[in-house]
Every structure is written in structure tokens, then in C-alpha cells.
């Protein structure tokens, strides 16, 4: 079993028009910049993949990563909890022009919906959002005299993940707070594509320290010295 692929293009094979794509990261921490930029390059060269639904905590920052995908016109809709950022122009302009869809989800509900998608739990009750505009129209139920909102699982066609270490079986570790949504998204996508800062031999990752077991991973591509969204932003880089 060898989930390694040679390059970003091979890693992204099969990401097509109209797909739902989970993108790991919280702000710039954990954003798989090289995978995103390779997808943009393909879109610019071939016109595909377009009409994507992105699932991320945020909606991009500056002119790189998710923001650059929006700028390129690849994104039809975003499911996120917090579409504001230091430089939210890309999303804001399209959103106010009615050119991009938004499903706003409370952050904990977003995380739990993705986990549920990966764990085979089609629906669960949560107190979050109860009595607010974000729960309008959703079923509610009472348990022990408290009311809760019924929320559905969230799955995706593809997950794009940035990891720290990986082996050929797809076992992953993450770097510090770059972990965030990535282990959940790896579980919830039909095709989980990982860029890892380093690929090591099986056994080199302590079995106790594996955060994402390989069963959740389909492809791994090594990207040494990955770019960091926040650093690119501050350097004024556009992709």
C-alpha cells in the first residue's frame, strides 16, 4: 500500500467541476496553500475545476489560498463560520454582488457536522443556534427540559489537508494549532488529499502520536517548506 503521489497535479487528479471541497485550516494555520494554488493553476489553464463549494472555517484572506480561488472565479458557494478576515475583499465583493453563496454555520456545529459525516452519524442535537436566525426552520427537540436543534452531517467529495509528517500508509501528524479542522475533514471526504511537509517511513511516526490514522487518507504528496498564508498575506503576495 503506497498512498504517495509524485506531485501536486497527480495529487489533485479527479477534483472536478461542481464538487464540494473541504479545505483544512483556521485562518492561515493549516491552510494547504500549495494544493490550493495548484488547483488555481489548473483552473486558469483548463477552466476546471469550477463551480466549487468550499467548506472551511473562513472565506479567505488577501490574495492567496481560498481568497485567490474566489478571485479566480472557481467558487460558487462557501460553507463557513467566519467569512471575515484581515483582508476579506475577495469574498466580500463577490458576496455583496450576489455572485457567491454563503451558508453560515456556528463554528462548533460546523466541526461536529463534519465529524458526524466522517463517523456515520447522519444527525445530532446541539444547543448552538437555538432561538437564532441560524437555526430557523430546523427541527428542535427537548431533552431533560432543555431544547436543542437538529443538525445534519456534512460530507464532501474532496478534502485538501496540510499535515506535518506522513507515511506511505497515510498516517498523519499536524503542526501545533494547524491541526484544527483537518483531522475531521480527512474523515468526512470521499477523497482525502494531503500535502505533508515530510514523508517518513512507516513506523517513524509513533503509533501513539498519530493524529489521523491512514484509513482516512487517500493520497499524500510531499511539499517541503510549505508556504504560510499569514506570511504570504503580510508580504502582499497575490496568486
Amino acid at each position: 500500500m503506497d498512498k504517495r503521489v509524485a506531485d501536486l497535479e497527480a495529487a489533485l487528479e479527479g477534483v472536478e467541476d461542481g464538487m464540494s471541497v473541504m479545505v483544512g485550516g483556521f485562518g492561515g494555520s493549516g491552510a494547504p496553500i500549495e494544493l490550493l494554488h495548484a488547483l488555481i493553476d489548473r483552473f486558469r489553464a483548463t477552466g476546471s475545476p469550477g463551480r466549487l463549494t468550499l467548506i472551511n472555517n473562513n472565506a479567505g484572506n488577501g490574495r492567496v489560498g481560498i481568497a485567490a480561488m474566489i478571485d479566480a472565479g472557481m467558487v460558487e458557494r462557501i460553507i463557513c463560520s467566519f467569512p471575515r478576515s484581515a483582508d476579506p475583499r475577495a469574498f466580500t465583493e463577490r458576496y455583496l454582488a450576489g455572485e457567491i453563496g454563503l451558508e453560515l454555520v456556528p463554528q462548533g456545529t460546523l466541526a461536529e457536522r463534519i465529524r458526524a459525516g466522517g463517523a456515520g452519524i447522519p444527525a445530532f442535537y446541539t444547543p448552538a443556534g437555538l432561538g437564532t436566525a441560524l437555526a430557523e426552520g430546523k427541527p428542535t427537540a427537548r431533552f431533560e427540559e432543555k431544547s436543542y436543534v437538529l443538525e445534519r452531517w456534512l460530507k464532501a467529495d474532496v478534502a485538501l489537508i496540510k499535515a506535518e509528517s506522513a507515511d506511505r500508509l497515510g498516517n498523519l501528524t499536524y503542526r501545533r494549532a494547524a491541526r484544527n479542522f483537518s483531522p475531521l475533514m480527512a474523515m468526512a471526504a470521499a477523497l482525502t488529499i494531503v500535502q505533508a511537509t515530510r514523508i517518513v517511513a512507516p513506523g517513524q511516526i509513533d503509533p501513539e502520536a498519530v493524529v489521523t490514522p491512514g484509513i482516512f487518507v487517500d493520497r499524500v504528496v510531499e511539499v517541503p517548506d510549505p508556504q504560510q498564508e499569514e506570511a504570504l498575506m503580510r508580504a502582499g503576495v497575490s496568486h
Binding site: S81, F82, L102, Q107, A128, R175, L184, E229
Partner: protein
């Protein structure tokens, strides 16, 4: 004291005095983050951030940032010994599961019913909610730090919120630039106020009745 009211730092200081030793605390994005600076001597609070860190410390020096080590406001942080990383589902298990002792959040409006509005100005633009709707139902105690009135002088403490709600009946204490107010049985119960403000003046700046119960202390904070 500028303009006869507390600065944000002073409001944060006052809120910090109510954090018990050993408490697990989540601070909202922006001004509530300042609370962490004022933990009283001899008490150790452990701070949680939604994006998967427990027991983080001060911001690093400029130029020393590691952008994979940030808080929910996307600001660079540092770690204290005994920190832990975890993914978002575990992070919100801590929130939703009632494991946090207190969350201290900002507010657009707080109602005497404990309703909180702090995510949408209702004026169009781009809505954003983040973790606030989870926090208001998760932490054992929800406190708010806020100016007493809006920039144009309208009350932020009201009978019923006019803006889209974050949570229903969740806030139990409000630290404002003028007073400390508990919410109890759908009433604003005044606990402390700045000495120079009369009850009448404070009531005039408040959009719902202030109840007095068991006495009102002076709100005293250091110059910061």
C-alpha cells in the same frame, strides 16, 4: 479615568477579578482578549481557544510569531508548560460539554432576559458568527464585557434585543464601562457602579430597569 468611564482595559481588569484559581476560561475575539492580562496574583487560569489550544500565554514579540500558533482571533500566541493541542471537534466538546468555567464575550446588546446579540448588526454586509453560538450554551458562566452605551449613546443593555440573537437567556453578568450588573430571574441586578455616577444617571443610560438588591458597591479599578 477618561471621560468618567472605564477604559476597555479597566473593564477587562474588573472581569478578571472574578476568575477563580484553576478556572478554564475562553475569551471572545477582540477586547475580551485583554482579560488574560489581568489575572490576579496567585491565581492560575487556563485559557482555551476554539481553534484547538489549551493553556496558551502572552503574544510573542513582534517578529517572533509562529503563524501555526494562533488564537481564535488569528493573533499569534505562545504556549505555557502543560499546553495541549486538539482538533476542532474536541475543542467544541470542551465548549458544548460544559467543561469551561467561564466565557467572557463582547456584545452589541444584552437583554435583561440574558439574551445576547453579538454576531450581526443586522444591517447587511457579511455576517460572521464563529464560535459564539456554541460558547453561550457551553461555558458554565457567560459574562459580557462592553461599553455601557453605543458610540452614539444608545443603551446596549436593553429589555429585548433588537439585533439578531447569538443566544437566548445565557448571560449572567455584564461588566460595562460604568457598572457591574448581574442578570437574575430576567432582571438586571446592579452590583457595582462608578462612584461619581448617580443611580438615576445610570438608569437613564440603561434600556431596562436596574434592580437594587442587597446593596450596590463602588466599582473601583486601578489606573491601567
Amino acid at each position: 479615568m477618561k471621560d468618567n468611564k472605564l477604559s476597555n482595559a479597566q473593564i477587562a481588569w474588573r472581569a478578571a477579578q472574578d476568575i477563580a484559581d484553576g478556572a478554564y476560561v475562553n475569551l471572545g475575539i477582540g477586547f475580551p482578549e485583554m482579560v488574560a492580562r489581568f489575572a490576579p496574583e496567585g491565581r492560575e487560569a487556563i485559557f482555551h481557544t476554539e481553534n484547538g489550544v489549551l493553556n496558551f500565554g502572552e503574544a510573542p514579540a513582534e517578529g517572533e510569531e509562529d503563524w501555526d500558533l494562533i488564537n481564535a482571533g488569528k493573533k499569534a500566541i505562545t504556549l505555557k508548560p502543560g499546553a495541549a493541542f486538539f482538533h476542532h471537534a474536541d475543542s467544541f466538546a470542551m465548549v458544548r460539554g460544559g467543561h469551561l468555567d467561564v466565557a467572557i464575550l463582547g456584545a452589541y446588546e444584552v437583554a435583561e432576559t440574558g439574551d445576547l446579540a453579538n454576531w450581526s448588526t443586522g444591517r447587511g454586509g457579511v455576517p460572521a458568527v464563529g464560535g459564539a453560538m456554541d460558547l453561550v450554551h457551553g461555558a458554565r458562566r457567560i459574562a459580557v464585557v462592553t461599553e455601557h452605551v453605543t458610540k452614539d449613546g444608545r443603551p446596549k443593555l436593553v429589555e429585548r434585543c433588537s439585533l439578531p440573537l447569538t443566544g437566548v437567556g445565557c448571560v449572567t453578568r455584564v461588566y460595562t464601562s460604568l457598572a457591574v450588573i448581574d442578570i437574575d430571574a430576567n432582571r438586571f441586578v446592579l452590583r457595582e457602579k462608578l462612584a461619581h455616577i448617580s443611580l438615576e444617571a445610570l438608569q437613564a443610560l440603561t434600556g431596562a430597569k436596574l434592580v437594587i438588591e442587597g446593596g450596590v458597591s463602588d466599582l473601583v479599578v486601578p489606573e491601567i
